[in-house]
Structure formats: C-alpha cells, structure tokens
Chain length 225, copies 2
C-alpha cells in the first residue's frame, strides 16, 4: 500500500501562535506593545480561547509577557537581557556545532550551504526582512543536525527572541550586512575543514558583534513604543 498519510489540519491555536509569532518577529508589532485577547480574537476571527492558549505558549517562548488582570505585552528586552541571551545563544550554538561535526558533518554542511545561498539571494533582493529570515534559518541548521532533541528544544525556546531582536534592533549600518555575510562564509569554511576552534571563535565574534549593535540601538531608545 502506498503511503497515503494525510496531514492533519492545524489547530486554531497553532495557526494563531504562528501568526502572532511572525507578527512579533517580523516587527509588525512594536516591542512592549499592548495586546488584548479580545482585540486579537476579533482581528483574527476566532474566539478568545485559542488566542489565550497561543499567548500562553508565546509567553513560554519569551515573546510576550502576560501580567495578570492587566494585559499582555510584546516582550521588551533590557540591555542585560540581551547580553545574557547572547551568552546563552553562543553556548548552545557552539555545542550544537560540535555535535554536528562529529555526527552529521556532510548533511549539516550541505544544509548550511543552502541556507547561505538563501542569504545571498535575500541580500541581492535587498529585503532586510528576508535576509533576517535566512539568517535565522542558517543558525537553525545547527540544531536540526545536531542529533539531540533537547538541544534543539532549548534553542527553539529562545530562537523567537533572537529572531525578533534581529529584525527589531538591526540597523542598516554601513557595510553591516556584508560583514555578516562574510562571517557566515567563514563559518561554513571552518566547518567544512573541521576547524572547530576557528569555528568557535568566529561564532563568538559573530554573536558578540550582534550584541554590540543591539545594545547600541537599545541605548538609543528608538525601539520603544
């Protein structure tokens, strides 16, 4: 018998969650913005129940903050937050890369090259949002091939924030995107060559430079509602 498996239609909760997540990550909403369950449910054309459940999930991903009886707000990171997030992210990514290299070097490399191509395409296309998305995909590759689901889950738990910061706080600095591309190229090269130490240091520099940029923007206070 052929494989006739049908995919289940997504639940409303899943749809709402994805929609809201995209709205936050793609900067359709401002950091700190107030969200009302009722307003959202009306805007989305569903009842409050799935909205509420989706918001609860997003809270666990750190994308919104729910204050009892007051309201729900898009997350608003402090400088310290961003710093800790970067440190944590570096820890996860470096570990994931280590696992990738020892367990699934070939497939991981191929996927990284694909993602890199997508980044180049986005850069050529000139859309900052597309570039940020491709960047996100690139880093997700590490976790798809690391062979440890818990590592991947942990990353998923912060990837929303990372991606959101990328979109909200990235400023089109002179040559910034070019430097980012160059670093990604270097990472792929180091990975292909199996130079783990180099890879670590590039990744560290890459993430910490991003942190600098974010911190600058945060200090300038331009992103608050």
């Amino acid at each position: 018998m052929p494989d006739l498996k049908v995919e289940q239609p997504k639940s409303l909760v899943a749809i709402v969650e994805e929609r809201l997540r995209n709205a936050i990550v793609d900067a359709e909403m401002r950091l700190g913005e107030t969200l009302s369950e009722e307003a959202l449910s009306e805007a989305l054309g569903v009842s409050r129940t799935p909205v509420r459940e989706a918001l609860a999930r997003l809270q666990l991903q750190g994308l919104v903050t729910i204050v009892p009886k007051k309201g729900t707000f898009v997350f608003a990171p402090t400088e310290e937050d961003v710093s800790e997030l970067c440190v944590f992210r570096y820890m996860l990514e470096t570990q994931a890369l280590r696992e990738c290299m020892s367990k699934a070097r070939g497939p991981a490399l191929a996927a990284m090259k694909d993602a890199l191509a997508a980044m180049e395409a986005a850069q050529a296309g000139g859309s900052r949002r597309d570039y940020a998305r491709a960047d996100t995909v690139f880093h997700e590759v590490f976790f798809q091939h690391c062979g440890n689901r818990y590592l991947g889950n942990a990353y998923r738990g912060v990837s929303g924030r990372v991606a959101a910061l990328r979109t909200h706080l990235s400023v089109p600095l002179e040559g910034e995107q070019e430097r980012s591309m160059a670093e990604h190229h270097l990472m792929v090269e180091a990975f292909a060559a199996g130079r783990l130490a180099d890879l670590d240091s590039i990744l560290h520099r890459h993430i910490m430079r991003a942190w600098d940029a974010y911190a600058d923007v945060l200090r300038s206070g331009e992103v608050r509602g």
Copy 2:
C-alpha cells in the same frame, strides 16, 4: 509605612500545574499513563480550562504528551531519550557551574553545602523520595547562582524530566545512595577549591552513571504501565 505587600493568590493554572508536576515527578502516576482532562478537572475540583492550560505547560516541560483528539499521557522516555537528556543536562550543568565559579562562588558554595546537608538528612531519614528531592535541589543551585536567566530557564525545561527519571527509574541498588552522596561531596570540594576540570569530570561521571542505571531499568521494562 511598613511593608504590607500581600502575595497574590496563585492562579488555578499554577496550582494545577504544580500539583500534576509533583504527581508525575513523585511517581504517583505511572509513565505512559493516560490522563483525561475531564477526569483530572473532577479530581482536582476545578473546571477543564485551567487543567487544559496546565497540561499544555507540562507538555512544554516534556512531562506529558498531548495527542490531539486522543488524550494526554504521562511521558514515557525511550532509552535514546534518556541518553540525549543526560548529554544535554551535562552540557547545561557544566556551563552553569563555570558561570557560578566566576561570578558567585561564595553564595553558590554556601547553597551547595546547604543542599548537601539536606541530602544527608534525607538519607538518614531513609526516604527515597526525600533524597531524590534534595538531589534535585542540589543541582538547581547551579542555575540559581549562575547569573544567566536563560540558562536557568533551559534547565527548568528539562528539570522535570530529570527529576521524574530520578524517582521512577532509580532502584535501590547496593550502595547506590552512598556512592551518589560521595560524588556530591566531591563536587562540593572541587568547587570550593576552584578545580574546574575535576568538577567537570566528576559531574560527567555522576550523570553518566545515572544514565547507566536508568537504561538498565528501562531495558528491564518494569516501569511501563
């Protein structure tokens, strides 16, 4: 004016979540056991809504599995699961210890000693459940003092599973608890002396030995409902 701040009564969701979590972690429920939202809500004396929300949170902690339209089940780890979990746990704990040592050595050491004392008390008292709980607290200390909330969150995301395995899969092997105590003592000593490399290797041995024990029990198949 004196400080008269009142603590907010916990929400029903939080209460239900904690209650269910304890029930799973303390092995009041069997691994793989079926949970019905309605049955739970009746047993707990609340409506399905908070139960449902609590179950969703527990799913994100990996303590239950929700199958759409079918039911909710207490998690049932495979041998592979446990292996990946141990690897991941070692990664997190070793990183947390590193941060503790460089940022909050004194307080962390004090807290570890307290936890150790509690473990000894539990051992003297002879309750396996109390010992397992104290063990859990000991390892949580690392994350309370590591100064990185994301690291702590990531641990919270798996600590339920870790704690549950401790209770479900630990068998009172000859001298097992004594060996565990000895290892914890060694860890505290190494931490106090600032011997990070030793600490790492003790921790690694400690976790991997636990893994061995769990795997044995899993293979024997005694824990399934």
